[in-house]
Symmetry: C2
Subunit: 428 residues, 2 copies
C-alpha cells in the first residue's frame, strides 16, 4: 500500500522534500509503515534543474488538477500566498478528500479554521507543521506532546531574519539598514523585506500557535504586530548597557480577561534563554500546567528544516495517525477575546530624543510621575547643549494603557524632537 | 465512548495525573475526542491522602487484576522497577490487548523491544514518553516530529540530580559529598543516590533514546556509563578556568563503524547551549539530516512534568493515534554495533595528582608525546615540593583507544599518586 504524494511547488523546500523522501526511503517506509512516493509534481518550470529526478513523476501544469488526481493521496502545497493558486489547490484537494500538508503560514493564519472544517467534513487531514518555526516540531508538541496541559503562554523568536539582524547589530554596532542589506546579500531577507522586518511573518506564525495553544480559530487580524525597523543601533547599545538584549518576540498569553497576541521588539534580560538565541535560529517557549516550562530551539527556515517538518506531516498521515488541524475539532474552535490594554502589565524601555537643555530630564521624569509610573533607571550619555540627545528610561511595572498615555504626553513635551521609542521588557 | 484508564501507582506522578485528568477534563475531552476517566486504581495504601478523590474508582489490591480488568482500556504503570510487579502487570495488560502507558525507564531499557512486540501481537499500544526527560516530549519528537530525518547523534543532560549537583558545586565551590547531601535534603536525590549519580538513570534513558533514534532494540548493557562521583570541586574550577563547564552527558552517536552509547561527565564550552542548562532541568539535542540541529529543554522530573508526558500518551491512545513503541515495527528493530574505541575521536581533560618535584611536568608531557597526543594546555597551580599537587592537561583530538593507553602510562609514572581523572571534551 504505497502512499502517493503530489508536490505543488518545487522550490528549495519542495526539492529537498522530494530528495529526502528518496534518499531515506527505507527508513521512512519503516516509520510510516508503508512506502511513501512522489507520484505527481507541479511547478512553474518543468525544465529547471533542481537536483532531483522527476522523470518518473506525472507533471501537472495546473496544480488544481494535481490536487484532485486519482493518483495522489497526500497533496503537499509549497507555493505560498494567502489566497490564489495555493488556496484554490488546497480547497480542491480537501473537497476531494485528499490529505493536505502545507508550509503556508499566510493561508493557515487567514483561512485555517475554515480549511480544518473542510478537511474534517471530507475525512481528510490538514497539517502544517512547517508553517511555524521551520524544523522545530512545535505544533505537534502543543497538540500532542503537551496535550494534557493548560497553556498559559507561548512565546518566542519566530523570525530568523529579524533575529539575525538584531544579533549582527549587537555584535558589530552597525546600523539597521546596513545589516539588512547584508541579510539580503546572504539570502536571509527578501528584496522586499517588509514581510519579515515588519513582523508580518512572525504574526502569522503566532496566530497559528495561539489558535492551537488556546483551542481557538487562528485570527491574524487579532495579532498586534510591529517589527524592528525602528530599533536603532543606539537602542541595542543602551539595552546592552542595562543588561538586556533586544529580540523580536511573538507572545500569546492568557490572562483572566482575555488573550494577548503580540509581535514586537522587546528587551529580555541577557541571562534569559531567549537572549542567547542568536542568528537565524528560532525558539519557542511554552508555559503550561502541569508541565511548567518547555523550550524548543531549532532552525527556523531553510530547505532542510522546512522539509523535515513537511516530511513529519506526510509520515504521520501515511502511518494513519489522525490529528485535528488545531488540536481539536474545528467546530469547537472559539474566538479569543483580546486582553484589554488596561490589564496588560509590563515594564518598559523608553527612548526619547530631546533637546539638551537644563530641566529636560525633570520634565521627562515628571511625565512618568504624573502617570504613576516608577522609573527604574535613566540614562543620558554625553551632552550637546541645545541639540537633540537621547534620554533612555526603564520603568517598573505599569500597564500598556498607562504607557500609551505616557508616550502621548512625552511626545507633547516642548523638548521632545519626535515620539518616543517604546519597547516592552519581558522578564519571563 | 469514554476511554477508561487504570492507574497502577499513586505516588506523586500518579496522583498528579489523576488530578490533571479531572481538572482539565473538558480540554482533554476536546483534544482526545472522547472523555478520559480513571476507572480503577491500585497502590500500596488505600487510605493515604493524596489530595485526589478516588471514591468513584474501583480499588485493586493486586495490580495484575487491574491490568486485565474489563473496565480498563489503558493501563498506566507508575510503580517502577525493571522487573517484579510492574513488569508482571504490563505483560498481563498487553497480553490482554490493553494499551499500556508507563514512566518506567528501567523496564523499557531492559525489556522494551520484547514488550513492544507483545503489544503489536495483541493490537495494543505501548507508550513511555514519561520515561525519558520528564516533561520534554522528546520521544514523540524523534518518532514523529523528526520522523523524516536520519539521526546522526542524540545527546543531552538526562539526569536532573547530577546537573543540580554540578551546578551547585560550580556556584558555591563546595565539595561533591556536601552538595549531594543538600540535594538529598531538597528531595532531588534519593537516600541511595547511586541510581542517579553513577549514571544508571541517564543510561536507561539513553538506551531508549538510542533505540528510537537508530531503529534498534534498546540495550541498556550496551551503554557505557559512569557518573559524577569522581568529579571534584577542583575539576569544576579547573574546567571553569579553561572556559568549560562539566556536565553529565548521555551521548548516542552514529559513526561509519557503529554507534557509541555513553554516559559520562564531560567538559562542554561555557558558551555551548548545554553549558547553560542549570539545576534540575533536562535538555536533549538532536543532530539529524535534513533538519540540522534541534534542542528541547524542560523539567526532567517532578510530578507535574512526568504527569504531562503520561497524559500525552493517554490522549494519543484515546485519540486513536497509533505509533510503534520505538518508531517502527518491533520485528524490524536491529541491534547496534558499538563503535570501536579506536574510531572514537575526541579531545580530553586529564587531571593527574603527582608528587611536586623537578621534571615531573616533563615526564607527564612526555607520556602524551610518546602516544602521539598533542597537548592543548597544561595547568599547575601552586607549588608544594615533594607533596601531591594536581596537574591538569587538555589535549587536542585523539581517540579513546589512545587515551586509555595514556591513562595507563600516566598511572605507572613514579610521581603519580593515583590514576588520572579523564573527561571527554565535547564541543558539538
Amino acid at each position: 500500500m504505497t502512499v502517493r504524494v503530489g508536490l505543488i511547488g518545487l522550490g528549495t523546500v519542495g526539492a529537498e522534500a522530494a530528495r529526502t523522501l528518496a534518499a531515506h526511503a527505507e527508513m521512512i517506509t519503516a516509520r510510516a509503515g508503508a512506502p511513501v512516493v512522489v507520484t505527481e509534481v507541479s511547478a512553474r518550470s518543468r525544465s529547471k534543474d533542481r537536483g532531483i529526478d522527476i522523470s518518473g513523476m506525472t507533471w501537472r501544469d495546473d496544480p488544481s488538477q494535481l490536487a484532485v488526481s486519482d493518483n495522489v493521496d497526500i497533496v503537499v502545497e509549497l507555493v505560498g500566498g494567502e489566497d490564489g493558486p495555493a488556496l484554490a489547490a488546497v480547497e480542491a484537494a480537501l473537497a476531494a478528500g485528499k490529505h493536505v500538508v502545507t508550509a503556508n503560514k499566510a493561508m493557515i493564519a487567514r483561512h485555517g479554521a475554515r480549511l480544518a472544517a473542510l478537511a474534517e467534513a471530507n475525512g481528510a487531514q490538514l497539517a502544517f507543521e512547517a508553517a511555524v518555526a521551520g524544523g522545530i516540531p512545535i505544533l505537534k508538541a502543543l497538540k500532542e506532546g503537551l496535550a494534557g496541559n493548560d497553556v498559559e503562554r507561548v512565546h518566542g523568536i519566530l523570525n530568523g531574519t529579524c533575529n539575525f539582524i538584531l544579533t549582527e547589530m549587537l555584535s558589530t554596532g552597525r546600523a539597521f539598514d546596513d545589516v539588512l542589506k547584508e541579510a539580503q546579500d546572504l539570502g536571509y531577507a527578501e528584496a522586499d523585506p517588509g514581510f519579515d522586518i515588519d513582523g508580518v511573518d512572525a504574526a502569522q506564525k503566532l496566530a497559528i500557535l495561539s489558535g492551537i495553544a488556546f483551542g481557538a480559530a487562528p485570527d491574524i487580524d487579532a495579532v498586534e504586530a510591529s517589527g524592528i525597523r525602528d530599533v536603532s543601533a543606539l537602542d541595542i547599545m543602551f539595552a546592552k548597557e542595562l543588561g538586556y538584549r533586544i529580540r523580536l518576540l511573538g507572545v500569546a498569553a492568557k490572562s483572566p480577561t482575555g488573550v494577548e497576541q503580540r509581535v514586537s521588539a522587546c528587551l529580555v534580560p541577557e541571562t534569559a534563554d531567549l537572549a542567547r538565541i542568536d542568528g537565524v535560529t528560532n525558539a519557542v517557549m511554552v508555559d503550561a500546567e502541569p508541565v511548567g516550562q518547555a523550550l524548543l530551539v531549532g532552525p527556523g527556515a531553510g530547505g532542510g528544516a522546512t522539509a523535515s517538518s513537511v516530511l513529519a506531516d506526510i509520515i504521520d498521515i501515511a502511518a494513519g495517525r489522525r490529528a485535528y488541524a488545531f488540536g481539536q475539532e474545528a467546530a469547537s474552535l472559539g474566538a479569543l477575546t483580546a486582553t484589554p490594554i488596561a490589564d496588560r502589565a509590563g515594564a518598559y524601555y523608553i527612548r526619547l530624543n530631546v533637546i539638551d537643555q537644563p530641566g529636560v530630564i525633570a520634565d521627562v521624569a515628571g511625565v512618568l510621575g504624573q502617570h504613576g509610573v516608577s522609573i527604574k533607571s535613566v540614562l543620558q550619555h554625553g551632552r550637546d547643549p541645545n541639540e537633540a540627545v537621547p534620554v533612555v528610561m526603564t520603568t517598573h511595572e505599569t500597564t500598556e494603557a498607562v504607557i500609551r498615555d505616557v508616550a502621548n504626553a512625552l511626545s507633547a513635551l516642548e523638548a521632545a524632537v519626535e515620539p518616543p521609542i517604546l519597547m516592552k521588557i519581558e522578564s519571563f
